[in-house]
Symmetry: C2
Subunit: 278 residues, 2 copies
């Protein structure tokens, strides 16, 4: 369910972008279970101020993204809303092998399927610009990340062989890893230096005077896959840590080990040096 | 999709009643296609003012109605809403033979599976009472109709043999019959005297100083089945008219034939005598 003012801001995105994102975030949830999406049902609450051209553009965005992912729009409901635009979708998919959040085992490697933080940095740049971006071809340098925020393109894993647990990164790496650890009743240690940062994220973080790892660890809406496997390598994904018996830690380049929670890890840092644990 | 302030008013219904109705209106849509419901997915946007006890009661209402109809709750999404309560559901069912709105043929009889208008009269009585009804066992006489409005109980047809088209009456008999005629590209003639009126509706209409046929023809939310068949009879349903080549008419007890539209038929009545057609 996507609610205007809670999940999206139409002053920062076009209806077509919203439509595409609506499909993408749902497909991401199915990919995260090792499934493929097939059928989409849409319910829409439309405020009186919305013009037909707006709804047309929204549907074109939905239809284009659905076609790219081989998803059929099979039905839905439209009604009037007295507050903002309300979108609710149900995506039906299938899987041969269903992967859940609960199968991670101590000793498994922890993988991520792309560079986290890009979407959150893109959002920060978009907000700084204070207006919608209607053509992605004009974006260059770190502003390319705006596309990653507005039009996330989740990609399924090619092989599920050996994958013991999986989740998509919608809320942020630390939050989503915490969900995975909760469900699997395990701990995890992230090797900070192994987290892949895109060049655009590094540049954006400099421009925004922020730590790029803040975006990478806590930024949401990347829709990457975070998964575990007994293998040390997974083609096309990055090994960023290990599943352990218990405890949730980030180890930095100097070997310092700090605990993290779903709320973040910076909370534990005191007077710039960090609360060393172990 | 059910939106607070558009589709329901929490000053007139309990959360448990809302939950039950949420399931019922969706099941009705599946029955109307000759299917049986199986799996329900719920998305809920919850305003900050909602207490946990409210959500519990809502879910208990959903769960009880779902269990009665053999429906499994299989998933969903919960998020915060900055305006009213938002409920969106997707009900997945299956059918051996799918009945649509488009198969009615001239010469078919038109059937309805129960007494229309009860829900709308129940709503009128509920509004007159200006407060919620928490126990149905205290309702007597025409006020029994309040239960029909708050807790509609759609029932599937036992046999689909011979049924050529079907729709459920959610918007009102004339509107829903108009949808069926539009989709089937046919006309229809309703024999007014054959429309079954419940005793409670007749009494309620007297109390409310309204024409009971106003409720029966234009009142919504009965969730009965309106269907067509070449047979003259259908066990447990009422034959209320005929499908014709074209034209949409109501014939009254004196043989007067008046056209109707989705908007109603009273619009055509002038100076108390009616605009006779034919």
């Amino acid at each position: 369910m996507l609610l205007e003012g809670v999940h999206f801001d139409l002053s920062l995105m076009t209806p077509g972008q919203l439509g595409a994102k609506f499909i993408a975030v749902n497909a991401s949830d199915i990919y995260a279970m090792g499934g493929m999406p097939h059928y989409f049902v849409i319910a829409m609450g439309v405020p009186g101020r919305c013009r037909a051209s707006f709804i047309d553009a929204l549907y074109r965005g939905i239809a284009r993204a659905a076609a790219e992912m081989n998803i059929a729009l099979v039905g839905g409901d439209t009604c009037s809303s007295r507050s903002g635009l309300v979108l609710s979708g149900t995506l039906i998919g299938s899987s041969r092998k269903t992967v859940t959040r609960s199968g991670a085992e101590p000793g498994n490697s922890l993988f991520i399927s792309g560079t986290p933080g890009d979407s959150a940095a893109g959002l920060a740049l978009l907000k700084r610009g204070k207006r919608r971006v209607t053509s992605f071809s004009t974006l260059s340098g770190p502003r390319k990340l705006i596309r990653k925020h507005l039009m996330p393109q989740p990609v399924p894993l090619r092989k599920l062989e050996g994958v013991t647990s999986m989740i998509d990164t919608s809320d942020g790496l630390l939050i989503d890893l915490s969900h995975l650890c909760d469900e699997s009743r395990v701990g995890a240690t992230i090797i900070k230096d192994r987290i892949p940062l895109s060049e655009e994220l590094k540049t954006a973080a400099r421009q925004l005077k922020k730590d790029p790892y803040e975006f990478a660890l806590r930024g949401g809406e990347d829709y990457l896959l975070l998964f575990t496997s007994p293998s040390r390598r997974y083609p096309g994904a990055y090994a960023i840590g290990q599943i352990t018996e218990k405890g949730r830690y980030i180890v930095d380049g100097r070997g310092r080990k700090r605990p993290f929670t779903a709320e973040g890890y910076e909370h534990f840092r005191t007077s710039g040096r960090g609360t060393a644990v172990n």
